[in-house]
Amino acid sequence: MARELWKGNEALAEAAVRAGLVAYFGYPITPQTELLEYLSHRMIDLDRAFLQAESELAAINMVYGAACTGVRTMTSSSSPGISLMQEGLSYIAASEVPVVLVDIMRGGPGLGNIQPSQSDYHQVTRSAGHGDFKSLVLAPATVQEAVDLIYEAFDLADMYRTIVVVVADGNIGQMMEPATMPPMRSIKTDRPNWALEGANGREHRIITSLELGAPRLEALNDRLQAKIAEIRRNEVRYAEHLTDDAEILIVAFGTMGRIASTTSDMAREKGIKAGVFRPISLFPFPDQRLEDLSKQVKKILVVEMSAGQMLDDVRLAVGKDVEIVFYGRTGGIVPLPDEVLEVVERIHEELNNG
Amino acid sequence: MAKGRIVIDEGRCKACRLCTIVCPQEILELSNRLNDRGYTPVEVTDMERCTGCGLCAVMCPDVCITVYRSVPVRKTT
């Protein structure tokens, strides 16, 4: 397949189509809307299901319904819309049906604004609503990576019967970059052995998140926790840039990760050994590798487009032995390479004076 | 031979008495027996009078009642 220039939102949509998306339900919200708009003709042309729902709440429950029948399904939104999906996500998690969710984050809290942000980190990594559950969360930094991750997301969702969230700030949704689209998959006609399709010649099947008896609900939770443990073991992803000999390690994800790469390049020019650790899976967080790296570096700088949310995960991974500096911008402001460089330089100075 | 006959699944009966008030023959009453779940299931006082009208079954929320009716044998040639 040839490289083509794709807008992030549309690339995500097309890659989902190629991954075998059967049913899409969504609601417009900037900066995610082009994804829905693209599918509004693409899905119809392919005679697949597309519906603009009356709300995000309805959309996630439509997705829940479609997922119960074992087809590939997804929704997409941006921060306030994701908040409205929390109850539905908790039901989906408990019911163990596979669902893909795209969150193109914008500035918050509240209505905030439509500028890029990374401040849904806690919301997407810490819980799918109430109760104990974690979604598999993937954060691309380029349009190509967005394409590759969402294409894979459907497989992961099916394999683990879990929610997979592809989360990116508004920049990734809005920007254009060259990307190579993966091949078009044919849609599987046989459904998984848990799917609802009518009790034809077999026992009737039930998909529920209710377990009135505490021991049974605990058993469900144990199953979910086992799955989470397996995901932790198998699905850690990250990228590194100039980490081999890094003394200052910048930890950043998504757009911030690539911006940090530019910063580290600039720092190298000034003789500062900076490198970048970019978690791609936010859950499972790549804590092992980060802990290892933390033993090699002198200081860690966490940079986020938020007031510091991934910061928790970095601290959890690293403990208190290495000093962790945080630099974040909120409200839709994107920290630029030069301002991050200033922080790096300050850290560098402290290290040399300390 | 009575016109009708019903079979009550006593284990399901919750003694709600809904069937008793719709039976045109007034032949349904709660028994004194306790079933597994602590209810006193309905019983037929006089099966001979049952017409097999099925109203009890139409009314029963717990689907306890099976209904039979006597019909003339149709001879086919």
Partner: protein, 186 residues
Amino acid sequence: MHQSVVVSGFGGQGALFAGQVLTYAAMDTDHQVSWIPSYGPEMRGGVARCTVIISDSEIGSPIVRNPDVAIVLNNPSMEKFHNELKPGGILIVNSTMVSFEATRDDLVVIEIPGTDIATDMGDKRMTNMVLLGAMLAVNPVVSIEAVEQALKDHLPQRKQHLVESNINVLKQGYEKGIQAKAHSSN
């Protein structure tokens, strides 16, 4: 090679499209590229702006504080990027619409009456191509042929009939750019 180009104007002046054409041209001639629009409240205020990065290595940040090159189609854009361009930067100005005068002396400023030229050549909505052509003359980050090819390849079907006129305007802009460059280097 690593270059950042901003194209900025009112909505309707074709800033985003000019940026895209440049991006396509660079991509199709085997560069790394990224194109990112400003989106947000300015859009409502009628601003349209994009940043294009063209590079020979992987592109880190798709946005920059101080771009290398700016094509400014209107006054507010001129004010903004006259300030923000990096030292030695190139400023391509649509002088028909811009009254603000450059005062920085560490910039290469090329003034082209883009809207006039485009209007003369048939449609003022082609102002963007005049300015893009002029930029290519001063800053041959990609060849003009590559841009022509990009226009042919990527103008949507329903606009294919505009390819020729766009190319003509682009070329005209290129000429004017060559002249202006000669002039400015005097």
